[in-house]
């Protein structure tokens, strides 16, 4: 035992020099062998570096009094000053509130609706109608938010808008409602627009997961006399649980990256208190006023919180369900 260890330590002391040499020449030998693989990847790696990693270098702007005309070494460093201004700004708290509100609403609706839709679609017995409904349900996903926002505005308008026409026709309301002018309705409008646009698309993954469930489970349940509703509850939903969890973690990581297209396109001056999300805040008070450093501080806050959320949620899920994404 002792001699073995002694031998081992001795050999490991002696080894490094002769081992390292062939290793590095091995690297170049393999490099030469794999030169085509390198030719095919290195240009794109550089590309990714420029367009995805260089903006991270731009984060230094948040700690400077950035002036576009100066070079990096001539910039004046101000430490955390911009963050202090940021956290004291009422507009910031408002934007954070709006971002969190709309993203949480979107997160919840983005799970309930696609899962329900997939479960119901799976229960359709007529194959043709099922395929037709599915194809139709993808349709809004492929139109731009410019078009979708135009359609939503049109449907909700007081002049010949369908929603108002139905509500008035049914006698639920007497006067058409100016939906787009009500701040407190804005979050709901954005969430429902998203539901309209993405439910069918997001159901794809759940439908695929459902189609992977073995038919013998359902047969056994039918023999036991389980109703269709009970089959959904005790077979279908538990079977797609892992899929739901993975997607949940991914969405939580993107909680603050909800984008701003829909808010930008659906908002108007009357509802800015409810429509301004962090990205629009940086667009208006950063870029719009040439306060690049301040705007960058907003972007950094956004990114950092997203990553922290992602790791936190992933950690919680890892501990409780043994499912992990990272």
């Amino acid at each position: 035992m002792k001699t073995a260890t002694a031998l081992e330590t001795e050999s490991s002391v002696n080894q490094p020099e002769p081992v390292r040499k062939p290793k590095s020449s091995n690297f170049w030998k393999t490099f030469k062998n794999q030169k085509y693989l390198y030719f095919m990847t290195i240009p794109f790696v550089i590309w990714v570096f420029v367009f995805s990693y260089l903006p991270l270098w731009g984060w230094t702007m948040a700690f400077q009094k950035y002036k576009p005309a100066r070079s990096f070494f001539e910039q004046e460093w101000v430490g955390l000053e911009h963050f202090k201004t940021l956290f004291q700004d009422d507009q910031f708290l408002l934007s954070l509130r709006n971002t969190l509100a709309m993203s949480s609403m979107g997160l919840i609706a983005g799970f309930i609706f696609p899962i329900t839709f997939a479960l119901l679609l799976n229960e359709l017995r007529l194959g043709i109608f099922k395929r037709f409904a599915q194809t139709i349900s993808y349709l809004p996903h492929f139109v731009s938010w410019v078009v979708a926002a135009g359609i939503v505005t049109k449907m909700l308008s007081t002049e010949n808008g369908m929603i108002n026409a139905i509500l008035v026709g049914l006698g639920i309301i007497h006067e058409p409602i100016q939906f787009m002018a009500q701040g407190h309705l804005f979050w709901g409008i954005v969430t429902l627009s998203d539901v309209w646009k993405e439910t069918g698309w997001n159901a794809i993954i759940y439908l695929a997961a459902i189609s992977g469930i073995g038919p013998e489970l359902y047969e056994a349940a039918r023999v036991d006399g389980a109703t269709r509703l009970r089959q959904i509850r005790h077979i279908t939903i538990p079977s797609i649980r892992p899929t739901i969890i993975v997607l949940l973690i991914m969405s939580v990581g993107n909680l603050l990256n909800i984008g701003f297209e829909k808010q930008f396109l659906l908002s108007n001056n009357l509802v800015t208190d409810y429509s301004q999300v962090l990205d629009l805040y940086s667009l208006k008070y950063g870029l719009g006023m040439a306060r690049y450093s301040f705007g960058t501080a907003i972007n950094i806050f956004n990114s950092v919180i997203s990553v922290v959320l992602l790791f936190t949620i992933n950690g919680i899920f890892k501990r409780t369900t043994k499912e992990s994404l990272l």
Binding site: G58, V147, D279, L283
Partner: protein
């Protein structure tokens, strides 16, 4: 006796359930399609008559005037050209990058494999944000250029992983035997992987094309004042947002006004909406079987 009553009770509740499912799904189908049919009907309706309202899914006074009129808007013609061009170039560049990267990182023996995968995956979780990206584009001299539409999006990590998981499902023995026959890595990529990975490539081609065709924010941000580089979505945005004055407020203060963004009649707006939407609606049903598979693979693996 008890057996039959049990059976009939079951089929009765099943029937209720079936009806319930059909009603809900039909409702979803109607809610999804009605707005499009409504837009289509108004676009074919006389623009003065449309003001009266009450048009549902059939035009009341059929006319092609709205479509004839919008083809005289110079912004739309330029926009159409630029949008088509960026869709073609952006899709081709994206396909080349995704297929090459996916092929390389699917090769088990490739020594930079792990490193490149991580390097790509990180971009899905962290981004520099709006302003650092804007400053970078300016420093690279991409403001007021066509290149700003296609260059930033050449590599998409998500697309690479979709193609990678598809390539992983192709038997590795095919590559091995080609190698024994003396084929180099590029030949294997070109002759074996590309033809076999067509379903995955069709999927991401659709993603790339739709993304390019639907993009408007980059036009707004980088080329907003350059009429020669306008895109169709951006033109539509200007026309649609021209109704309510002050719509969107300060974000849009830098949008120059021109012939197309004076307040247009409803029917004209709807006709432009249709022109912008139809190319995509024609394409997507044919690619359905591919993108359903691609979405599933991508989600499971990445």
């Amino acid at each position: 006796m008890s057996n039959t009553s049990f059976a009939s009770r079951k089929s009765w509740s099943d029937r209720i359930f079936d009806i319930f499912v059909y009603v809900i799904i039909s409702f979803v189908v109607i809610v999804t399609t009605y707005p499009f049919l409504n837009v289509l009907a108004i676009s074919f309706n006389d623009s003065i008559d449309s003001v009266r309202g009450g048009i549902t899914i059939f035009p009341r006074e059929f006319t092609l005037d709205n479509y004839i009129k919008i083809f005289t808007f110079s912004g739309l013609i330029t926009g159409f050209k630029i949008s088509a061009l960026r869709t073609i170039i952006g899709t081709i560049l994206g396909l080349i990058s995704a297929s090459m990267l996916a092929f390389a990182i699917s090769r088990v023996e490739f020594q930079a494999r792990k490193w490149i995968s991580t390097f790509l995956a990180l971009t899905m979780y962290i981004s520099g944000g709006l302003i650092p990206t804007y400053i970078l584009m300016r420093d690279l001299g991409l403001m007021n250029s066509f290149a700003v539409y296609v260059l930033p999006g050449v590599v998409s990590a998500f697309n690479v992983f979709v193609v990678r998981s598809f390539i992983d499902s192709i038997p590795y023995a095919l590559q091995e035997s080609a190698k024994l026959d003396g084929a180099n890595d590029f030949t294997i990529y070109w002759r074996i992987i590309l033809p076999l990975a067509k379903p995955a490539l069709a999927t991401i081609a659709l993603f790339l094309a739709v993304g390019q065709w639907n993009a408007w924010f980059d036009t707004y941000l980088y080329n907003g004042s350059n009429e020669a580089l306008t895109t169709l979505q951006y033109e539509l945005m200007k026309v649609l947002q021209s109704t309510t004055s002050g719509n969107g407020g300060d974000y849009r203060s830098n949008i120059p006004s021109n012939a197309t963004n004076q307040v247009s009649p409803e029917s004209i707006k709807m006709a432009i909406t249709i022109v912008v939407t139809v190319p995509i609606l024609i394409v997507y049903p044919f690619l359905q079987k591919y993108f359903v598979k691609g979405m599933t693979l991508g989600a499971v693996k990445s």
